[in-house]
């Protein structure tokens, strides 16, 4: 039988995890594991700490509590730039409980929301203090045994943030890939772009060669050509029942082009 513990304070919850506890966000992935007897924990730990439910905008950044659900992201006026991203996660019943914190740990091909957080210079805060760069955090997430309290992201200006999810089933399906791009422009040219891809590796990943190729270019067919070349070798995606790694690599430039030129999906 699985134990169930609720703590009023996140630090207490983090301390209670020990070796055999799992932190419970919305439970969409934890319950799947439990239903199939695939859990590697014997206690479920959660917190009712209101800090994990807060969305706080300050200056050019916004902090999103780890227990904020996709539905709450959609409802938040401070997070309107993330509405299309949150809407791309599962159906309404999943979004009603699926959390931002849980998305950081979702295995391939999931993690669409995290892709956007990566592109927006995400920084992860954890119980007990400390802020980590999201890329670094994700690369070592399998060994993390604590509680994420929030993720802070940059607030992009007007048209600077774009997101595109490719799936086989419409309107909702699991990602063949998802792409998020933050494309700040200085005098019409891209400056300090950040791009991230989902389902193109074991975790969501930044596309550093693509970012470099975009520096100083304009967002038109000839300006983005070298970025489209750069994405071909940028990832080594795994095979899964939705698509082979080879297919994902082949179509990555097509979807990147659509995103950058605002062509949308045909």
């Amino acid at each position: 039988m699985i134990g169930f513990e609720t703590y009023p304070n996140v630090d207490q919850a983090a301390a209670a995890l020990r070796d055999d506890g799992v932190y419970f966000g919305g439970g969409t992935l934890i319950m799947r594991a439990l239903n199939y007897g695939e859990q590697d924990f014997s206690r479920i730990v959660r917190t009712t700490d209101p800090a994990l439910k807060q969305v706080e905008a300050a200056g050019d950044r916004v902090r999103i509590g780890a227990d904020v659900t996709m539905r709450e992201v959609i409802a938040s006026s401070d997070l309107s730039f993330l509405t299309p991203v949150a809407r791309s996660v599962g159906g309404p019943a999943v979004r009603n409980v699926a959390t931002v914190g849980g998305n950081l740990f979702a295995e391939h091909p999931y993690g669409d929301f995290t892709v956007a957080l990566l592109a927006l210079d995400g920084r992860v805060s954890v119980a007990g203090g400390g802020e980590h760069d999201l890329s670094d955090f994700i690369s070592s997430r399998t060994t993390f045994n604590g509680v994420v309290t929030s993720v802070s992201v940059a607030r992009p200006g007007g048209q600077d943030f774009r997101y595109h999810k490719v799936s086989r089933v419409k309107p909702k399906g699991v990602s063949v890939m998802s792409i998020a791009a933050w494309l700040p422009r200085a005098t019409g040219r891209i400056s300090n772009a950040r791009l991230a891809f989902g389902a193109m590796g074991e975790t969501p990943l930044r596309a550093l060669p693509v970012e470099q190729a975009l520096e100083g270019t304009s967002l038109d067919a000839s300006g983005i050509e070298s970025a489209l070349q750069a994405v071909i070798g940028a990832f080594n995606p795994p095979d899964d029942p939705l698509a082979s790694g080879w297919y994902r690599k082949e179509v990555a430039p097509v979807h990147l082009r659509r995103l950058l030129l605002g062509e949308g999906e045909k």
């Binding site: 039988m1 699985i2 134990g3 169930f4 419970f24 439970g27 969409t28 934890i30 319950m31 799947r32 439990l34 239903n35 199939y36 859990q39 479920i44 959660r46 539905r71 599962g90 159906g91 309404p92 019943a93 999943v94 009603n96 409980v97 309107p171 909702k172």
Partner: protein, 160 residues
């Protein structure tokens, strides 16, 4: 480990029951309470046949930890009709042949009810979105979408 007590409201009635740690709400409803209306499909959240409404929002009972339902309000298909009087959604599904084998129907009805509670005048796209987590292998979805829009029209008419 002993079973744990759980109290919640089921279709407006106070309900008290003992649950196993780690048990999902689908099991609690079907085996514990005896409400067979949420269907067991995939147990991984992909089919939607176990959809219930929790505090006004759709939720997959197979992915809901029963212990998190303490003090919450849960609605299932069993609570839709008023005695012999079918709910407008049930009537529209029947009139529009929106059910064939019927396995998805309960989940579809609850997803639709949650939509209409929050948006009484949905567009066709809103309906498609609302049932996007519910799989139907018989109807091709169109009769279901039409039935939900039909019920929405009738419910608005009644409210006026």
């Amino acid at each position: 480990m002993a079973k744990m007590p759980l109290q919640f409201s089921l279709n407006g009635r106070d309900t008290a029951i003992f649950v196993n740690g780690g048990e999902n709400m689908l099991e609690t409803l079907r085996r514990g309470v005896g409400d067979m209306s949420p269907k067991y499909g995939c147990a991984q959240g992909t089919c939607g046949s176990c959809t219930v409404i929790v505090d006004g929002q759709p939720q997959l009972s197979c992915l809901t930890l029963s212990q998190t339902m303490e003090g919450r309000s849960v609605e299932t298909v069993s609570g839709l009709s008023d005695g012999p009087q079918l709910h407008a959604l049930q009537q529209a599904f029947m009139d529009g042949f929106a059910a064939q084998c019927g396995y998805c129907t309960g989940g579809m009805l609850m997803a639709a009810k949650a939509l209409l509670m929050n948006n009484p005048n949905p567009s066709r796209d809103d309906v498609v979105e609302a049932i996007s987590g519910n799989v139907c292998r018989c109807t091709g979805y169109e009769p279901i979408i039409d039935a939900i829009l039909d019920a929405a029209t009738k419910m608005r008419g009644r409210a006026m």
